[in-house]
Subunit: 564 residues, 2 copies
């Protein structure tokens, strides 16, 4: 007998992907390199005509209806999306329902079968959706580029293979947790002359309807972990993308709906709920009593509102103020080049991009002797100029600026009262003459302007902060992380004791540190399976991709027992 019989099981897809799932579960725990989806957009990996075909698909999708969703809808809405490369509207329209209630009713109805099926069925369907998504990675790249302003290569990698890695990681850890305890045990206990016997049956119950709120800069990478984690745990999900970055995640939702349909599940299990900036529906959805789980990426103010909603299980990634601590280095030029790349990459619009660079006012030790603060500043400025003014690398690294607010912020930064070490300028883009671009502005902050370093200056705005010594640098960086949040930290030191101190003090402020990066690894990078993204231990966010907490909070375990 089995009192919790799953309904509608279908493990054919599970069997197809069982090996991959096992590898993924192992990778989650070994934390070595694992990347099942090739990260280079090479014809060899993805097919000779894939890029051209999908570019064509992207272009013919513009100015039209996104008709690939299988969800219930009653009208079409033309989105706010516009390309940071052309400043033109994408003129895309998406199917919508007329109210938050309508989305919630449809999603809840669709969840009935899903919540009663088993983890194998769910895992198979979800991994299949990632495999189909692979056939859209180039379209995703173009869609991401023309909504977020990311460069083409970053768009491909972040929205395609890297987002799929993160989703697979969430599926794998979710599957592991769902199957962690036996569904049936024959329990016996000796009680003197006789033996007590019970049959115990266990089942997992999803916490209920989930809402995944996306951001403007990483529409799939930041949304897919929570989306897939909620799904593997048995919950329906309403995806509420940022009004300016819908197209990429719409492709993802469409594919999941397609696989659900083909396997006999109601596609409304995942619904795309599109809105416009001047008619937002996020709060109506978030505050609805039926919504039990919320994943959020975005601003501090909205994130804090979400965190404070009563009776919700909330996973947030908000803003971080990331630090670079320079104590001592071998090769200053190599260090400066690495930092220049980090602050220029996607024009500082990554949540992991550095903002405040702490340098002792007495200078630093290098293999070429002591270099002064001015030397360090000059090296970073030169390396940054060299990168952004490079005719091939500059525009390819910096991409474009997603929001005009960011452009305004950069322009105002020069007047903040610091010493401008490097001015921000447009970066010419050979393909897109109208691209919204700005190179990094680098500003030395005087002692009396230190309040500036406590606020996130989203975009390519970098402060050099002269400090008494490295001890003060660490103190400022750790305090900033504790009080205002941080997602990354980069540090340079040749002294093992200083390294330990930085690592521990930043860890206690919930911040991982990357030490002595001078090569092709950058502090901004954070990879599925090996790196935890955000620790959940400071105000930059309360969740981590993908630690056990990220999945176990999405379902409960119930055991019943039968006297036998």
């Amino acid at each position: 007998m089995q009192i919790f019989k799953p309904s509608k099981t279908n493990d054919s897809l599970f069997q197809k992907y069982e090996t991959m799932l096992k590898e993924a579960m192992e990778a989650v725990h070994k934390r070595l390199h694992f990347s099942p989806f090739p990260e280079m957009p090479s014809p060899k990996e993805y097919g000779e005509t894939a890029e051209a075909d999908q570019k064509q698909k992207f272009e013919s999708q513009l100015h039209g209806k996104f008709d690939r969703l299988k969800q219930s809808s009653d009208s079409w809405l033309t989105s706010d999306e516009e390309s940071p490369y052309t400043s033109k509207a994408l003129s895309l329209s998406y199917p919508t329902l007329s109210s938050a209630d309508a989305y919630i009713k449809a999603a809840e109805a669709a969840s009935q079968d899903w919540k009663r099926t088993d983890a194998k069925t769910r895992a198979g369907i979800l991994i299949e959706s990632l495999h189909r998504l692979k056939n859209c990675f180039f379209e995703l790249a173009f869609a991401t580029m023309h909504t977020t302003g990311q460069s083409y290569l970053m768009s491909f990698q972040a929205s395609g293979p890297h987002a799929a890695d993160r989703a697979l990681e969430a599926i794998a850890l979710g599957y592991q947790e769902l199957t962690r305890f036996p569904d049936h045990v024959s329990w016996e206990k000796s009680a003197g002359k006789f033996t007590l016997k019970l049959e115990k049956y266990g089942t997992n119950i999803g916490r209920g309807l989930a809402l995944a709120i996306g951001c403007s800069t990483f529409p799939t990478w930041n949304t897919m972990p929570g989306l897939y984690a909620s799904l593997i745990a048995g919950n329906a999900v309403i995806v509420k993308p940022h009004p300016k970055s819908i197209y990429p995640i719409a492709v993802v939702v469409g594919i999941i709906q397609e696989v659900l349909s083909e396997n006999g599940f109601d596609p409304n299990l995942v619904m795309l709920a599109v809105d416009k900036a001047n008619q937002p529906i996020t709060k109506q959805l978030a505050e609805h009593s039926a919504v039990r789980i919320i994943d959020f990426t975005g601003s501090n103010s909205f994130g804090t509102y979400i965190e404070n909603l009563p009776n919700k299980i909330v996973f947030t990634e908000k803003a971080g103020i990331n630090s670079v601590i320079i104590d001592s280095v071998d090769d200053l030029e190599a260090v400066a080049k690495n930092i220049a790349f980090s602050i220029s990459l996607y024009s500082g619009q990554m949540c992991t991009a550095p903002q405040n660079i702490y340098v002792p006012e007495s200078g630093i030790q290098t293999k070429d002797g002591v270099k002064s603060l001015a030397d360090v500043e000059a090296a970073i400025v030169e390396a940054t100029k060299g990168l952004v003014e490079h005719p091939k690398a500059g525009f390819a690294v910096a991409g474009a600026i997603q929001s005009t607010d960011t452009v305004e912020r950069i322009k105002k930064a020069a007047g903040l009262g610091g010493k401008v070490l490097l001015e921000s300028k447009p970066i010419a883009n050979p393909e897109f003459a109208e691209a919204r671009t700005q190179s990094p502005i680098i500003i030395e902050i005087a002692d009396d302007k230190r309040d500036l370093i406590k606020g996130e200056m989203f975009g390519p705005i970098v402060f050099v902060v002269p400090t008494k010594d490295t001890a003060e640098s660490i103190e400022l960086a750790a305090a900033s992380a504790r009080e205002h949040g941080a997602i990354s930290c980069s540090a340079y030191t040749k002294d093992p004791a200083v390294m330990e101190k930085i690592a521990l003090q930043m860890a206690e402020a919930g911040t991982p540190v990357s030490f002595n990066l001078t090569g092709m690894v950058y502090v901004n990078q954070n990879a599925g399976f090996t790196d935890f993204h955000v620790t959940g231990g400071n105000p930059a966010g309360n969740a981590s991709f993908t630690n056990p907490e990220f999945v176990v909070k999405r379902f409960i375990r119930v055991q019943s027992r039968v006297e036998g």
Copy 2:
């Protein structure tokens, strides 16, 4: 190199208990019977003179200072504790500090070494404390009996071996989660012609100071899981017992402090913060910004206040309204006897005790044909009378009533408007003539009084609720669990389809069901390692002893990386 070096490691105790810890980790996952601490107070297991020696220790402790704590203090406070068996004050005094701030400062200072030591050192010390506690199980039994009113046997089992099981379970799952990911990996990734290499180092960081708020009825069983889970995760803990039930947990805290001291750790890592009902300090502690984790067992109103405190990680067990659903049975008399025991055990003061018994008004199928509602009621009434009036079993099962409020509630219940099927009477206790006792009152609730079943009537107050049919019984029980909380459910049915329906509908309301109990297992019982206690899925509480969520929320994982 290792950038996160633990401080003050000491794995000698870990080595002593490594086998036990492994067995415990295995038991957590197999969920079969595992009970490392013998549950019967037998001389063979605990020593010929243990009971007499510890009774003597208990008696000489009364009317005196509890001077076994090693924590900082500046004065003594005579507690509100009084025995439900004698109605006399225990006249015990405990060391206190003058303010919430003083406890917090002391605990935070003590946490510095603990948070930087390793999981092995912590696990060894914590398991050693349980082994020393074993030598106090009889004293714990007397202390529990004379604060909670539990019978002697229940006091021994619940506060001794069963509470130690639950603590060990939390240590084991905590240890497993803390050691789940490698502390060091040499990461490599091929990037075309060269290979990127990083050394990655991981560490766990406790979330911060914890507060464990105890209840009046199960001072160790309900407090030790959260206490030990916070400790294994690296956090200091302030234990705030119920003002009427301090002595048992004071013994536990004293022993942990002793083991900490012996192993070079500051005993203030665990502090007992005693207060009086008319001068409570719980809110001052709970609202303090330094308190990051709160474990709470107690009333709905206070529990909801705790759950709504901003920026806390909260684990609650509040009140549940537990149901019995009778659909069909073999042997009505055996069923009635099992139910009678469940409602009489510790006079209904267990969080798992049944309150509402749903019976179809048309009666039920039995092996002897259809029995009417009146037959079912009569059988339960007769079985209950037989048990509570039994000169040896009655007082031993029912124990005493912890609070005079409960006595008042029982007395008022007769006037609630239902049909009283069995009146509550005092139960004579041969040893304690003054014992505060009341046998169960059983009341049939008419349709127009059904609002009564929605409120918890703490104590031996039982409602029989006639329903149209079993479908309505399930509906009412599930709705009550969803809306008002439930921790247990007992159901009787011979129909597998009905069993499935009950199990699933109650599971979806976050409630485990015990089916067809007629022997020596009772719905009230919930054992470490095999049964999850509370699911976290309805208003009766947001946490579960001990699922992964119960431990993983108490620390974060931080990984740093070094280019090498």
